[in-house]
Amino acid sequence: MEFRAGDGARKVLMTLIALLTVLAAGLIGLLAGLFSPWILLGLIPVSVSGLFVFLWYPPRFAASLSGTFDGTAVRASMGVIWQKEIFVPMNALRTFECWKLPFHRFWKCRTIILRFAGGATMLPLLREEDAQLLVERLEETENP
């Protein structure tokens, strides 16, 4: 089976970036109130970079995340600037988790965490139906 990030991932990332930009702007306003109004000039680079990242990053990340599960291993690749490819053999997998945070539920996506003895790796913001299918396939392979 194949899995990938859908439109939900793009929306979640856009929301998170927007929230972070607003928080950074709020912090700048706070500092300006405390020290000097000149600090408000910092809003210009923060807003411009925030807007750029808001428009540029989410669709590219959503397009970059894809993977496969063939019953023996999970393969996934992701990343826009730093690209990462992950190979987890099924025999190494100890547990897996499926996260459904409020944003995830609203935009129909899920984050899957694969845990093995040496640590864990994350498959973030997968499409809801892909994530459910992956969880089912992983369960089937573990308990045939």
Binding site: Q83, K84, I86, F87, A92, G118, E142
Partner: protein
């Protein structure tokens, strides 16, 4: 069989209250600043008695904890250990049950104090992810020996004993920082002399004269502290590994180390998840390697290093490994970094090397700093250069191997394929341009170490990662 903890338990349990004894001491030291009359001094004495009383009450609490602590050993009919139940706690009693089969490692420690008291400390670890040992027992020497004996399946032992001169060299170079300090100390002395002379020549003010008098002894003392620090590290490491020996007992490795504090460690050889050959630059001059294992359940306590062979030359190392872990899989690291990626390895030390120009240009006392900086940078550059020529990644039907440099040491790591949990290939934007990548392999380890090789050819690394998945034994087929 039920056993009470050995009396030494009280001493080790009460140790945590010792800082409280500082309170009366601090009070006495600060008394002249606060108190003036005889009445105040009597208050001071009363307060000191109260503090000491509190300390004695806490020691009494430790004694009560000892009274209520129990170890229950259950044995099979044929006499081998089945399980251990540890009951402890006075205010919050709890019990812990450990099955002998689950014990991944057992460590018996005999410090000089325990030796005097005739006791032993036994640490039992399972393969779970915990920060400390699962159980720490204080037993008499006889009980501890009996427990260690019961957990060992005895057969003809194959023994490896560390030779003294490699251990001495390893102890001298085990801390690269310590070696750095040795070079730093004479430089500091020289700097002290130069500063003293120059400041007294150039500064005629009173402050300048004070500085010229005070700086040389200050830097000299600092140099002495550094040399003493290195000597301390050397003696500590030498005492830890002199007289080290290891033997294979059935399916378990028995490691014995330490001259003053004797440690007997039993490790289930099936639980070894990685074999690491470590070499510092100083050890490379003598052709020595240190073999370190990563084993589930061993090495989680602070200060414990799962060393299998402290220092040995390749032939001795190979013989010892054949005896100690005969079936351990290894393979060659045939995938090498691209030649064009040399700068990825030596870039940072070269930048550091170029930094010597600034103190050289400033001249005077800064020249000493420049010399130090130069030595440090060249040292790092040499390690990185050797790391580049040694670096590699390989996958066979049984094992994964990774060779890389980290910090100031070179590593060769062998991971059995069945415990290689995850392979990650990362490409940064500039790696994408020259078609290289970073390969990381994760396996279980108490210290959560990451094994990474930089600047490998991307397409071939990808093929090897696929090979790793292909050969990985599946539980589900």
């Amino acid at each position: 069989m039920e056993i009470r903890p050995y009396g030494a338990y009280v001493l080790y349990d009460a140790k945590k209250w010792i800082p409280l004894l500082l309170l009366p001491l601090l009070r006495v030291l600060t008394a002249p600043l606060v108190f003036s009359s005889y009445q105040d001094i009597s208050a001071l004495v009363l307060a000191t008695i109260r503090d000491t009383g509190l300390y004695m009450a806490l020691v009494a609490y430790s004694v009560l904890r000892w009274r209520f602590c129990r170890y229950q050993l259950r044995e099979y009919a044929h006499g081998t250990l089945h399980s251990l139940t540890l009951t402890k706690g006075l205010l919050f009693p709890n019990s812990l049950r450990l099955s002998a089969e689950d014990a991944a490692s057992v460590e018996m420690e005999c410090t000089p104090l325990l030796w005097l008291l005739g006791g032993r400390r036994v640490r039992i670890n399972t393969a779970g992810l915990r920060r400390r040992s699962d159980a720490v027992l204080y037993l008499s020497a006889a009980h501890a020996a009996s427990l260690m004996g019961q957990t060992v399946y005895r057969r003809i032992p194959r023994r490896y004993a560390a030779r003294l001169w490699p251990v001495t060299i390893m102890a001298a170079s085990s801390s690269n920082a310590a070696l750095g300090l040795l070079t730093l100390a004479p430089a500091l002395r020289q700097a002290g002399q130069i500063v003293g002379r120059r400041v007294s020549d150039e500064m005629m003010s009173l402050a300048g004269r004070v500085v010229s008098l005070g700086l040389p002894p200050l830097l000299d003392s600092l140099a002495n502290v550094l040399v003493l620090g290195w000597a301390f590290a050397f003696v500590r490491n030498w005492l830890r590994y002199a007289g080290f020996y290891a033997q294979l007992e059935g399916s378990r490795l028995h490691l014995v180390s330490g001259l003053f504090t004797r440690r007997d460690v039993l490790i289930d050889s099936d639980k070894i998840t990685a074999l690491e050959l470590r070499q510092t630059l100083f050890m490379r001059l003598f052709g020595l390697y240190t073999a370190i294992i990563t084993a589930a359940g061993y090495g989680r306590d602070k200060g414990t290093r799962p060393v299998l062979i402290p220092a040995a030359r390749p032939r001795e190392l190979s013989d010892a490994l054949d005896h100690l872990i005969p079936d351990y899989p290894i393979c060659s690291s045939h995938l090498r970094p691209q030649k064009s990626a040399l700068f990825r390895y030596i870039g940072a030390p070269l930048w550091m090397l170029s930094g010597t120009l600034l103190p050289l240009w400033l001249g005077g006392v800064w020249q000493v700093l420049a010399a130090l900086w130069l030595v440090g940078s060249l040292w790092w550059l040499t390690v990185r250069l050797l790391g580049f020529f040694q670096a590699g990644f390989g996958v066979s039907r049984d094992a994964v191997s990774l060779c890389y440099s980290k910090g100031l040491a070179l590593y060769r790591v062998y991971v059995p394929l069945e415990v290689a949990d995850c392979a990650m290939i990362t490409q940064s934007p500039w790696q994408k341009r020259n078609g290289t990548c970073t390969v990381e392999v994760r396996c279980f380890g108490e210290k959560r170490r990451r094994h990474r090789v930089f600047a490998l050819p991307y397409s071939q690394a990808l093929k090897l990662a696929e090979k790793l998945l292909k050969y990985s034994p599946s539980r589900y087929q």
